[in-house]
């Protein structure tokens, strides 16, 4: 089990185009939308053009928790994660799972190339965002399957910096915990990941009693 406290890199992460989620992100209403077959095919084609530029990679590890209070979670390496909502989220956790994915810079390059065409850019952007989210979900499912073999249960819920008062500056700690740079991701001064379509999140891990 100790190996899970080291970093695991998944170089080729399985992903299918989350078509429905992309349409939904773009505001398509299944019942009200008025769209021709040709127009729908055109949008799907652009989605696939964007999807071809998606190369998801991910990394994850487990973290040991040293202390928990109502406001702060302290990891065994001294990192403090301050947020009441986050502390509540991990209240019953035995360990924390931290995962990060990036879909690469392909989408950003496409958007740059078509920067004067907003109707294309917005589709590329939506594909990138949904693929990053889906890829993180898949990384979590793959981790869950692996951990279950060792009687560790990884919860489905995720918690990301920037939400629930967990400051986005926590990304700096995450970048110390995960080799995001190996996935080609860097962090700006204002804690924004570049390429933009990169995601990190925590999840709860519990020991299974057998």
């Amino acid at each position: 089990m100790e190996k899970f406290f080291n970093v695991n890199i998944v170089d080729s992460l399985a992903l299918t185009l989350p078509e429905r989620a992309v349409f939904s992100r773009l505001g398509r209403n299944r019942f009200l939308s008025d769209i021709s077959n040709i127009e729908e095919s055109r949008i799907k084609l652009l989605m696939n053009q964007a999807f071809a530029a998606v190369h998801p990679r991910g990394c994850w590890r487990l973290l040991k928790i040293a202390r928990k209070s109502n406001e702060t979670v302290t990891l065994d390496n001294g990192i403090e994660l301050k947020s009441a909502a986050f502390a509540g989220f991990v209240r019953l956790a035995d360990y924390l799972w931290i995962g990060g994915v990036s879909i690469g810079s392909g989408i950003a390059e496409l958007m740059e190339k078509y920067s004067d065409n907003m109707s294309k850019s917005v589709i590329f952007d939506a594909v990138g965002s949904e693929c990053a989210d889906e890829a993180l979900g898949n990384l979590q499912k793959i981790s869950a399957g692996t951990l279950m073999r060792y009687n560790l249960v990884l919860d489905k819920a995720r918690f990301s910096p920037g939400y629930g008062n967990l400051s986005l500056t926590v990304q700096r700690d995450i970048f110390n915990l995960l080799p995001m740079h190996q996935l080609g991701v860097s962090l700006t001064e204002s804690c924004i990941m570049v390429p933009e379509k990169s995601v990190t999140a925590f999840a709860v891990v519990n020991k299974l009693t057998v």
Binding site: N29, S36, V122, V210
Partner: protein, 802 residues
């Protein structure tokens, strides 16, 4: 080793009980955390002997070898890849020694590598096959009775493993189980039905699911599979779901609760049952008890032929719904496609695929045959590309056995093969390949002597073909007979001969019939009219599939009408839904009035058509430029906006409309310059993403909509310091500024911009927007709030009227 036939008899005779969790039981036997389980068991053989004998005592008929992580990729994580053969062989031997004396069978366990095979990932398919072959060879050498490929998350990896085992041990029984989550999909979005159809046609002897869910969710999967399964079904659920009890995480089903759920699984159709995570020998003892009192499902199979795409299935029934096989992915006669394919690009093939499925094709014919290209490589590339992009099954269309083999081997579904005839090469080379990969067949009643002249010759050839394909266990439901349509311009009676043959196949043989429709009209004017008319005639005689171009709306409407009239379309639901629908099925073509065309072009977001229409208006000169702008173009964009507000249009449509308008106005600018009407100077609007933030898609959309609404937008870009924004606003004497931020760490920069503006005596209105900004925050920094681009336009107008 068992034979496949023996396994089927074994499964028919009784409800087969499998084992439960192994890892948990090994921990109870003292396996420490963090070790390589396979190596630890090898060093402590008594542990697995105890676990397997406990399962045998609980009633298991089959136990799995402890080789879940025994493939070379997994063993490499522990530096043991070079010992893969030795480890697998010895673990198989230990397992056989443990339970063979008790009359229990041992199946060699093969599980995921953790890598993803193309097209889901980028691991080469043949590399995956080789890894699994090596493990299967070792397990076979260790004396296993059969194989189980389990806990597969990706259908293509399961296919690689199954092909590997089949090539190592063609006569051995192989069970395959995949994991489906509570939405009944694999990690890569494959339905249980698509996985079953693909794997049973590829030679799996039993199929089902294990892990991820408890018995209740698994019962739903088994119930969905039972009506189409031609092989026994397996269920190996977890002991419910993990839950917290007295401060400890445990599975929520004890042995009794678990056993009580088995009745539902048996009723749904499970033939082989065991347990996965959290189950113990006690759980399996409960399963055994329920298995003794429940009758297992009798395997009937499905009356229809079923093929599978990468994620879903298509039923082909001779007397049910008509299926169009899209014909366009074929370079013959298509110069643009030929040029693209020669360049190695499959973009146009993908476009044709999406357009055809959008127009109603249920299967896509893929033909890559043309001179001067590597057809095998091109076919492989296209198939992988299409498998990622479209769900529908593919029809592999090639005359080359090598191309057919490569295509069927790599395709992550069950394909239709076009075609098998009595020609020597097709029978001797292509048919065995098709059978190996389980493809459904199009039978072409063509003899070695060329085209049959009449219906009788076709019938004779067809019966000879039936005898040939029966040698490979093909049932009639697994073929579709090609009616061999020939041009009526060359042979006037060709249509009648084909109709007579279709009638015979449908009524006497009750098989699927298909035709390459466009052949009928070759050499004639108005070919589509002839095609459509002949199709209607053929459908009334029983034709249920056609290889055709679905992009013609009249053609597809004719099919819908026939289906409604012949009652295949129950209560005419499909016909009424399509023909009563207000949504256009195709984008608007140009109409006679170019001003109206310009209107339509903006409404449907077609920038090229909009520019062309404006040019036509200006050339014709019967509509004044100002009138074109005010009464057509601006009215069209207002309708686009209205449709967006009513959610009839969504974002790409709104933006396409806006871009079409911009293109049209640009074309019109010169003409408008000479317009004598008074012009109102546009209001300036400065827009920027604040310092530290690099997200600008929302800001760009807003800028576009503002421009279309008459504002002169000064877009300062992203990551813009407060000083730059304020200085520019003062310089331009701008009355309104829009600020965008997407992150909590950057939204605070907005207040700095506003504070600086006030310090410098800039009195401009501010509008704040972006994912993390809400009305309350905007109010707190003395800015107005806009949740989206359209709202920003509205708010800007309101603020300027103050």
């Amino acid at each position: 080793m068992m034979k496949r036939g023996e396994f089927i008899i074994f499964c028919n005779r009784l409800t087969v009980v499998l084992d439960g969790a192994t890892g948990t039981e090994l921990i109870k036997q003292g396996m420490p955390a963090g070790v390589c389980p396979e190596l630890w068991v090898l060093e402590h053989p008594e542990s697995i002997t105890a676990v397997q004998q406990a399962y045998a005592a609980s009633g298991s008929h089959i136990v799995y070898t402890p080789t879940f992580g025994g493939n070379a990729v997994k063993l490499a994580e522990f530096g043991l890849a070079d010992r893969a053969f030795e480890i697998n062989k010895k673990l198989a031997e230990i397992s056989c020694a443990a339970v063979h004396p008790l009359g229990v069978k041992v199946f060699g366990d093969i599980a995921p590598t953790g890598k993803f095979v193309e097209p889901s990932g980028d691991w080469a398919f043949e590399d995956a096959v080789n890894v699994f072959k090596a493990q299967a060879e070792a397990l076979a050498a260790g004396g296993v009775d059969g194989f189980v490929i389990e806990t597969m998350m990706d259908l293509q990896e399961a296919r690689a493993a199954l092909i590997a085992v089949r090539e190592v041990a063609p006569e051995a029984p192989v069970m395959v189980t995949m994991t489906f989550d509570s939405s009944q999909r694999t990690l890569t979005g494959v339905t249980p039905e698509a996985a079953l159809v693909t794997l049973q046609s590829l030679g799996a002897d039993a199929f089902g699911c294990n892990c991820s869910t408890g018995p209740a969710d698994m019962t739903k999967v088994i119930a969905a599979l039972a009506p189409i399964a031609e092989i026994p079904l397996i269920a190996k659920p977890n002991a419910g779901l993990p839950m917290l009890k007295d401060g400890k995480t445990v599975f929520n089903m004890d042995a009794k609760m678990f056993a009580n759920c088995m009745d539902d699984l048996f009723a749904a159709g499970a033939n082989l049952v065991g347990g996965c995570c959290g189950t113990t020998p006690e759980h399996i003892a409960g399963v055994t008890e329920r298995a003794r009192v429940n009758r297992h499902r009798h395997i009937r199979g499905c009356a229809d032929g079923i093929i599978a795409g990468s994620r879903k299935v298509e039923r082909l029934a001779f007397d049910k719904n008509f299926v169009v096989i899209g014909e366009r992915i074929n370079p013959t006669g298509k110069k643009a496609l030929q040029a693209e394919l020669r360049e190695g690009s499959t973009a146009l093939a993908l476009q044709y695929a999406l357009e055809q499925t959008g127009a109603g094709a249920k299967i896509l014919d893929v033909n890559m045959g043309m001179p001067g290209v590597d057809e095998t490589a091109l076919m492989e590339k296209t198939i992988l590309q299409l498998a990622r992009a479209v769900d529908v099954p593919l029809c592999i269309d090639s005359t080359s056995p090598e191309v057919v083999e490569k295509a069927l081997r790599i395709y992550p579904g069950r394909a239709l093969l076009n075609s098998i005839s009595l020609e020597k090469e097709r029978i001797e080379k292509v048919l065995p390949i098709a059978a190996k990969y389980g493809a459904m067949l199009i039978l072409l009643p063509l003899g070695d002597n060329g085209l049959p002249e009449n219906c009788q010759e076709r019938i004779i050839n067809l019966h000879r073909l039936f005898l040939e394909v029966a040698k490979y266990n093909y049932a009639r439901k697994d073929v579709a007979v090609d009616a061999l349509i020939m041009a009526v311009s060359a042979a006037p009676d060709a249509g009648n001969a084909a109709l007579e043959f279709i009638d015979y196949c449908h009524n006497n043989l009750k098989v699927n019939t298909v035709c390459g429709l466009s052949n009928i009209s070759f050499g004639l004017p108005n070919r589509m009219l002839v095609n459509r008319t002949f199709l209607t005639m053929a459908m009334t005689r029983g034709l249920n599939m056609a290889i055709a171009n679905p992009m013609n709306e009249d053609f597809m409407n004719s099919i819908d009408a026939v289906e409604a009239l012949n009652t295949h379309d129950e209560k005419m639901k499909n016909y009424l839904a399509k023909q009563s629908c207000s949504a256009p099925t195709a984008a608007p073509a140009a109409v006679a009035d170019p001003a109206q065309t310009a209107y339509n072009a903006v409404l449907h977001g077609d920038a090229a058509l909009a520019v062309k229409a404006v040019k036509n208006v200006l050339e014709k000169g019967d509509t004044a430029p100002r009138k074109l702008l005010d009464e057509y173009l601006l009215k069209a964009i207002a309708e686009v906006g209205g449709k967006f507000e009513k959610k009839q249009y969504f974002l790409p449509q709104l933006l396409a409309g806006a871009e079409a308008l911009q293109a049209a106005i640009k074309e019109l600018e010169g003409a408008l310059a000479g317009d004598n009407e008074d012009k109102i100077k546009p209001e300036k609007f400065i827009i920027a993403t604040v310092k530290g933030d690099i997200h600008d898609i929302g800001k760009n959309i807003t800028a576009l909509m503002l421009r279309n609404s008459g504002f002169e937008v000064i877009d300062l870009g992203k990551d813009v310091p407060a000083e730059v924004i304020v200085e520019r606003a003062l310089k331009e004497n701008c009355r309104i500024i829009g600020l965008s931020a997407l992150m909590t760490t950057t939204m605070t920069e907005m207040s700095k911009v506003i504070e600086l503006a006030r310090e410098r005596n800039c009195q401009a209105h501010f509008i704040a927007g972006g994912a993390v900004v809400d009305e309350k925050f905007a109010e707190s920094i003395n800015a107005a709030y806009a949740s989206d681009a359209m709202m920003c336009v509205r708010v800007a107008r309101e603020l300027l009227q103050k």
